[in-house]
């Protein structure tokens, strides 16, 4: 073990970690939007929407993320859409995450008592307000622990996008260790950085939970 190589590589690793973080965050945001839309559509959009949502969820939950990523990256150019690796990566992360998030929200919505929406219905609320003001805020509260879990899983899954050449933490570690022949030190450093990021995310989740519980 030679720790000086870690120090030498650290600036590059940290720069790559920043890429990991923002690609993951964009993936999570996309996943949240898709997840909520799919969940609401399946619950209130009729049978066709429910079935389409079901197909979406079973595909993106059932096919390995690496395969999804490669499919998006190699298939879209075939139909004339040229996607940069970064865009393909964020899309793949978001689509996969959306499938899980929609199921997290479905479970959380089932945990909101029926009387909650009934009270709003009896007061004459429009359907949209019942979703945005009553159901989703409560579903969100219930699902914070599961969403933090999903956030951490997704951040780790982002290491897969190294295969399409995005210079995130894993890819950069590969590149560095291929040139200095010190894979153990470099991957160890990368692992510690992942751990630190996820530790911060878990802490953030606890704070959000505590904050919401005060309400």
């Amino acid at each position: 073990m030679k720790f000086s190589v870690i120090l030498d590589a650290l600036p590059y690793l940290l720069e790559a970690a920043v890429t990991t973080i923002w690609v993951s965050l964009l993936g999570v945001l996309l996943g949240q939007v898709i997840g909520v839309v799919v969940c609401v559509a399946r619950q209130s959009g009729g049978r066709a929407a429910d079935m389409a949502g079901g197909v979406y969820v079973s595909f993106f939950r059932g096919v390995p993320l690496l395969i999804q990523l490669l499919l998006i990256y190699y298939m879209l150019p075939l139909i004339g859409i040229d996607v940069p690796p970064l865009v393909a990566s964020i899309a793949a992360l978001g689509l996969a995450s959306g499938a899980y998030v929609s199921e997290i929200y479905r479970g959380a919505l089932n945990a909101v008592p029926h009387g909650q929406s009934e009270a709003a219905l009896a007061l004459g609320f429009p359907g949209r307000s019942i979703w945005t003001r009553i159901l989703l805020p409560q579903a969100f509260r219930i699902s914070v622990p599961a969403l933090v879990n999903e956030l951490i899983l997704l951040l780790k899954a982002s290491s897969l996008i190294s295969v399409v050449g995005v210079a995130e933490l894993t890819r950069t570690s590969q590149t560095i260790s291929a040139s200095n022949y010190r894979p153990l030190e470099i991957y160890l450093a990368a692992g510690v950085i992942y751990l630190a990021i996820n530790g911060a995310l878990a802490l953030f989740g606890t704070l959000v939970e505590r904050r919401l519980q005060q309400a």
Binding site: P113, E118, A119, A120, G124, F125
Partner: protein
């Protein structure tokens, strides 16, 4: 008064407003599969009347109440609120009302639930103000001001910023009542409003309901509080197995009814509440 109204509106006949009942239920029936939960119900509630629905569990009281604002769909007969058919179009064969039409009908009908159903992520004040913003389109500031006055009316001005979890059951139910009266409904439905409360908290909720009745609010109340029914109700309907088995003033139902099921029900009630 008489002279003024005659000169001011000489052509106004004493029909429309005075004669059309607040709620008119005619031949209403409902089934869950083969189970008939409501059979051939007739009931009229006039303006400013308090009508209590009593009877054993499973007799259909709550189902009937929930049909009045169409939270529960009735299959047969008709329910009218101030002359407007509830839940269906006037065509034959009738079709279900659109959500939009259902909403405008529900605006005039408030409902208070057994489990309060306050929204736990909003303060007492926000619970009351929310419908004013979402349904009546008031701006946030005037909705909050109006909501504050309503909380004051149920004696909870001091709890405006408390979340439901920090309130007692009785306080929660009073907030739920404030949430409804803020919308200035023409009619209020109460679905066992005190059944989920500890005995010592029942009184404060019944007092608010008494005040509302004294102010002339039209109320239909499903209740197990026979004292409230006897003292506050103008009419009492006793339901048994989906039918109205007895109907009349509290005196007629409680003391003069020859209906054996009423007698049996009241006897069980007295046995349970004496010690």
């Amino acid at each position: 008064m008489t002279a003024v109204s005659q000169t001011a509106a000489p052509t106004r006949s004493p029909t429309a407003d005075d004669v059309v009942p607040m709620v008119s239920i005619r031949g209403v029936g409902k089934s869950f599969g083969t189970n008939e939960v409501l059979r051939d119900i007739d009931l009229t509630v006039n303006k400013s009347e308090v009508v209590c629905l009593i009877g054993p569990s499973g007799s259909g009281k709550s189902t009937l109440l929930r049909c009045i604002n169409f939270l529960e769909v009735y299959d047969r007969g008709e329910i009218r609120i101030e002359g407007t058919l509830v839940g269906y179009t006037e065509d034959t064969p009738r079709r279900r009302l659109s959500n939009r039409d259902l909403r405008s009908l529900r605006r005039n009908v408030g409902m208070v639930f057994q489990q309060f159903n306050l929204w736990p992520h909003m303060t007492a004040l926000e619970n009351v103000a929310e419908a004013l913003v979402q349904v009546r389109g008031m701006d946030k500031a005037s909705a909050a001001a109006h909501a504050g006055r309503m909380l004051d009316r149920v004696g909870l001005a001091a709890k405006a910023d408390a979340y439901p979890a920090r309130l007692s059951g009785g306080q929660q139910q009073r907030v739920a009542i404030a949430r409804v009266i803020a919308m200035e409904p023409h009619l209020m439905l109460f679905d066992e409003p005190t059944s989920a409360l500890d005995p010592e908290l029942v009184g404060e909720v019944l007092q608010v309901m008494r005040d509302l009745a004294a102010d002339g609010m039209t109320m239909v109340v499903v209740t197990h509080e026979m004292g409230f029914a006897a003292n506050v109700a103008d009419k009492v309907a006793f339901l048994d197995r989906g039918r109205i088995a007895a109907f009349g003033t509290p005196r007629e139902v409680f003391h003069e009814s020859a209906e054996p099921r009423v007698q049996q029900f009241l006897q069980t009630y007295h046995e349970r509440n004496s010690f």
